[in-house]
């Protein structure tokens, strides 16, 4: 590896927070990277929207506004994309792959929609496709799923994959404040975007869940296949109900392999859920991410780290870049799409979940019996009940065993309509404990 080798030329698409960090690391760590790859890495060009902006440390002569030209330039070996969004990014990456370039991308939205298209071009034209930074930032997660666990059978992935919502839920848990004011505070501190929809409504987490499920179950899962509930409906009542039971609320991305008499399927969903405070995910606070993976032989694994930010994301991108560059130097290939299993995706109604239901009911005889009868009628088994009389009414908390989500919803709907139920205080799914 010591003889002088032809440099690997990189086109960078995007030069915001992450892109600037990539340029910095590529420059500062150039000798190390060259030693690890067996050839130097050089920037061939950087595509940006506006040339004039101040970008300290970024060589101005490399900037261009013509991304379409840059991605197919003959001297470019690898295209690194940190712009995001679907179009025109998708077209640029497809063009790059068709020109035989390898692609490293951090673009979860694109991967969650069009991974199949990108992999097809990668397969036909021979360029690699890596995207570690698309899920859980700096945490090495996709490579373990795609490669380390390739000899195992992954049964479940459950994680906190969105920092903004985790920051908000952690803060609500700490202060008891409401959702709206906590979101405002998060925006003020820079933890939420001006338009927080993608985060708080769970779109970001759903994209990541789709990517995780695809890799874990060797099945093509897109964002549209993912059941999605955000955190905007989480109330202080939910938070205190969770607290009263030694639980805390997290927005979870859950990917499950389901064995049924008709064969295997997968269920993928994003929603807030109560987890026990003793669960390792309960201690993941603020902007951190963590993902639990269960595999048949490996058992339980957890991966923890920073899920976003310029430097962490740049770390993941550069790890991929080293892999892609090494493949070019030694003549290898990264993993291709593995979608051979092609399992059906089950709708949420058929997914098996558990509910926590907190009710404000009239404090009189027969109430518990009537409520219990509704559960029985829907074949939902009750795991725990707590009733506490107050001055004029009573608090009734019920935690169910696992049941089809549809049955749980119907149960809640029917209970909400009972005459002696004054208020449905909190309804939330429960995860992270034996059902």
């Amino acid at each position: 590896m010591s003889e002088p080798a032809k440099p690997i030329k990189v086109a960078l698409l995007g030069c915001g927070t992450v892109g600037t960090e990539i340029v910095r690391l590529l420059t500062e760590q150039a000798p190390d990277l060259a030693s690890r790859i067996g050839a130097p890495v050089e920037l061939a060009g950087i595509a940006v929207r506006r040339l004039g902006k101040a970008r300290p440390g970024v060589p101005a002569e490399l900037l261009t506004t013509d991304a379409a030209e840059l991605v197919t330039r003959p001297d470019v070996d690898v295209v690194v994309e940190v712009i995001g969004g679907i179009e025109p990014t998708r077209t640029w990456l497809i063009d790059a792959l068709r020109a035989g370039k390898s692609v490293v991308t951090a673009n979860k939205t694109l991967l969650a929609e069009h991974a199949g298209d990108l992999f097809a071009e990668s397969d036909t034209f021979g360029g690699d496709l890596y995207f570690e930074a698309a899920v859980a930032g700096a945490i090495p997660l996709l490579r373990p799923l795609r490669e380390s666990l390739a000899g195992d059978r992954i049964t479940r992935v459950m994680g906190i994959v969105n920092g903004t919502t985790n920051f908000i839920l952690s803060a609500m848990d700490e202060t008891g404040a409401g959702y709206a004011e906590t979101l405002e505070e998060a925006a003020r501190l820079g933890y939420a975007e001006a338009d927080p929809t993608a985060d708080v409504d769970g779109y970001d987490a759903a994209s990541k869940a789709a990517i995780l499920a695809s890799l874990s179950f060797h099945t093509r899962v897109t964002a549209g296949d993912v059941y999605r509930e955000g955190i905007s409906a989480v109330t202080p009542a939910d938070v205190s109900a969770a607290r009263a039971l030694g639980r805390t609320i997290k927005l979870l991305a859950i990917c499950e392999r389901v064995d049924t008499p008709d064969g295997e399927s997968v269920a993928v969903r994003v929603h807030p859920a109560m987890i026990p405070r003793t669960h390792p995910l309960a201690g993941v606070n603020g902007a951190f991410n963590a993902v639990f993976v269960e595999a048949e032989a490996a058992g339980q694994l957890m991966f923890y780290g920073q899920g976003a930010g310029g430097a962490p994301t740049a770390s993941a991108v550069l790890g991929d870049l080293v892999a892609v560059a090494r493949n070019l130097v030694v003549g290898g290939r990264g993993p291709r799409e593995s979608a051979y299993a092609d399992l059906p995706v089950r709708p949420i109604a058929q997914a098996s979940t558990r509910y926590h239901i907190s009710l404000d009911v009239a404090d009189r005889a027969g109430v518990l019996a009537a409520v219990a009868a509704v559960f029985a009628e829907h074949e939902v088994s009750i795991s725990a009940v707590r009733q506490e009389g107050r001055a004029t009414d009573a608090s009734l908390v019920i935690v169910t065993h696992s049941a089809p989500d549809a049955a749980l919803r119907s149960t809640v709907d029917k209970i909400a309509g009972l005459p002696f139920v004054h208020e449905v205080v909190s309804v939330m799914r429960v995860e992270g404990e034996e059902s």
Copy 2:
């Protein structure tokens, strides 16, 4: 990948707990593995010491006692080694690599001593060398270090990498019992071997630390370079001293990159240490392993899972086997040895650590001043002091700031000899908090 491909033939060395699991998984998951690799995987032979032993599920016709012949057999593509130990295993693997075979091994002892030799043969003859299972069992850790973080600069690795000692320390913390009786209990429950030396004296952890340091710092570190203290000297007094300060004791493997005016070096050590009960590693109990990694851009990462056992280890081995087999099918190469940085390894005396010191002293004026003077004389700065008078004597607890280990030791030695110090109750390093 759908046209029929030439099978990848595997020679398995060793058929104990891990080997049997590998055979089981190779059989049960054959269709999945073939889809992921692009070719079927077949066992060519299994080398064992004794043919007669009952091995349910293992095809008897594949057994041989002639490992030396098996590893160079022309039909063998990959040699998977789960025997352990240095010789004759080393010779067999060297012979296999010289015959152009790829090697997957779980052998930490061998890797920690002879990684350089094995990598040299891999480099010369073109076979891959993978060893994920050698450290932290099923936890995907080496691949993230070698590949995912290849674009980053790892500064520190700190982990619990030995299940036996973690089980014993967790139990001592829980019950307050002494080391000897807890070790007996661990042996009775199957968590400690009949001869527990390799575990309790830290040899196993030191081998793993050497492997982790080599990969993290691109420097050849062998087990002999690792400072090593086991857990046999940990007393109930240490445990309760830790508890009194909101800490718990863990056997830690610590690999650090040290920047000094003379340049960079690395420090690698294994010893028991007090960590705060709020530290994520504090919650890692029983036979589980967890490793913290700090990198310049990625920040803090944690990897958690089962560190040993047949199925978890087999999962890691099979992940490597899929990688090696894919490289054979698509014509790639795994990562080679990366030791270009070749940093010097610092002795423990120069490593920077913190001490917790608990003393039983005479309860009279001037004692604290005299003790503090000894610290000052050795240029060791004190972080916290707690003195409590008792009937006839006093308890004096001191936690230092970071200082060279040699200075800390000299301080303790001198204090132990002071006339009013009745007993040095507990001396232990402190990790996992800002110094």
